[in-house]
């Protein structure tokens, strides 16, 4: 290991692991609401990597923090849009799974 285990490095690594967990959840789970949950976990992981790596020199870096602030608000808007779309799918087809994953078909 070339870098010492500073707090920002610990959280950057945790963010990377969270991102991988989110990707696995997004692919494996078929219920649309769980896909949205996994997508948000991915987003939080990516934000942690951004801020954690920005701080690895020791001083807090305001530029990644501003980017993550923007990112959090855009993520909630994307979640709301995804929820609206999945509700519309529920209205049209009657279940919350994508057609290729439909357990009733």
């Amino acid at each position: 290991m070339t870098l010492t285990l500073t707090p920002s490095l610990v959280y950057a690594l945790t963010g990377a692991l969270l991102f991988a967990i989110g990707v696995a959840g997004l692919i494996v789970r078929t219920h649309l609401l769980r896909k949205i949950l996994a997508f948000n976990v991915m987003g939080s992981g990516a934000f942690m990597v951004l801020v954690g790596l920005g701080q690895r020199a020791g001083i807090s870096d305001p530029v990644p923090q501003a980017m993550v602030l923007t990112g959090i608000v855009v993520a909630v808007a994307a979640t709301a849009l995804a929820l609206a779309l999945s509700r519309h799918l529920l209205l049209l087809t009657g279940n919350m799974h994508l057609p290729e994953n439909d357990p009733d078909a």
Binding site: M1, T2, L3, L9, A12, L13, A16, L17, F19, A20, I21, V23, A24, I27, V28, T30, V49, L53, G54, R56, A57, I59, S60, D61, P62, V63, Q65, A66, M67, L69, T70, V73, V74, V76, A77, A78, A80, L81, L83, A84, L85, R87, H88, L91, N101
Partner: protein
């Protein structure tokens, strides 16, 4: 998804996670020292807090276009809102006296906190996004206490409120460019602090309406489903 495929995906994602961890550990030290560049130019930005300066001045384009993206997301949610909601079924609703009393007590305080966060953003952590989030929280609380009905479509005043954040930002970004011929988003130095506060005020109103609107458009308002 069958168990074998799920196991394969989990193994691949573990390998992916391990590769990410290895990549992060192998990063070279930073090439550009951004905090030092921000603090060198912060006196010209008009605010004292570095994150607000970056958000509203140095990277102002990102924030302006982000508000446009949020408006598009709200349009998408409105487009997907079921038409059935426009014919609202008036069922009987529980009165929830405790929640209503608490809401009537708390919401004015939340508006006050939002105003403080907006004001404090120039020198302390705070700013338009946090203030807008508190305003949205007040809106959601009012809806949950059934003091505010769900949105079928926003009326004219709400539409103006939603648009005004982006319009104010665009106006103050483009006006200096139209006047002097300089680039966009170059605030005149003496007015930078006041302009940023004005833009943040518009953003707070718009963001509060927008984030609350995302919730209110999706809410069922206790409707009965006739299918």
């Amino acid at each position: 998804m069958t168990a074998m495929r799920a196991l394969l995906v989990i193994l691949l994602c573990s390998a992916f996670g391990a590769a990410l961890v290895y990549a992060i550990l192998q990063l070279p030290p930073q090439a550009v020292d951004l905090p030092q560049q921000v603090s060198a130019n912060i006196d010209e930005s008009g605010v004292a807090h570095p994150v607000t300066a970056v958000l509203l001045n140095f990277r102002g384009y990102d924030t302006m276009l982000e508000v446009a993206v949020l408006l598009l997301a709200l349009l998408g949610v409105l487009a997907g809102t079921s038409v059935e909601k426009r014919r609202r079924a008036a069922g009987e609703r529980p009165t929830l006296p405790l929640l209503r009393g608490f809401t009537r007590l708390i919401v004015p305080l939340m508006v006050l906190v939002a105003g403080y966060l907006l004001w404090a953003g120039s020198s302390m952590p705070g700013g338009a996004f946090q203030a807008g989030a508190v305003v949205a929280g007040a809106g959601v609380l009012l809806h949950l206490a059934r003091l505010l009905p769900a949105w079928a479509t926003p009326n004219l005043m709400q539409r103006w409120g939603l648009a005004i954040g982006f319009l104010v930002f665009l106006a103050f970004a483009a006006l200096p460019a139209l006047q002097d011929g300089s680039t966009m988003l170059q605030y005149p130095l003496a007015w930078a602090g006041a302009l940023i506060l004005l833009i943040e005020a518009g953003l707070t109103l718009s963001l509060g309406l927008l984030l609350a609107g995302l919730f209110l458009c999706l809410s069922d308002d206790g409707m009965e489903f006739e299918k």
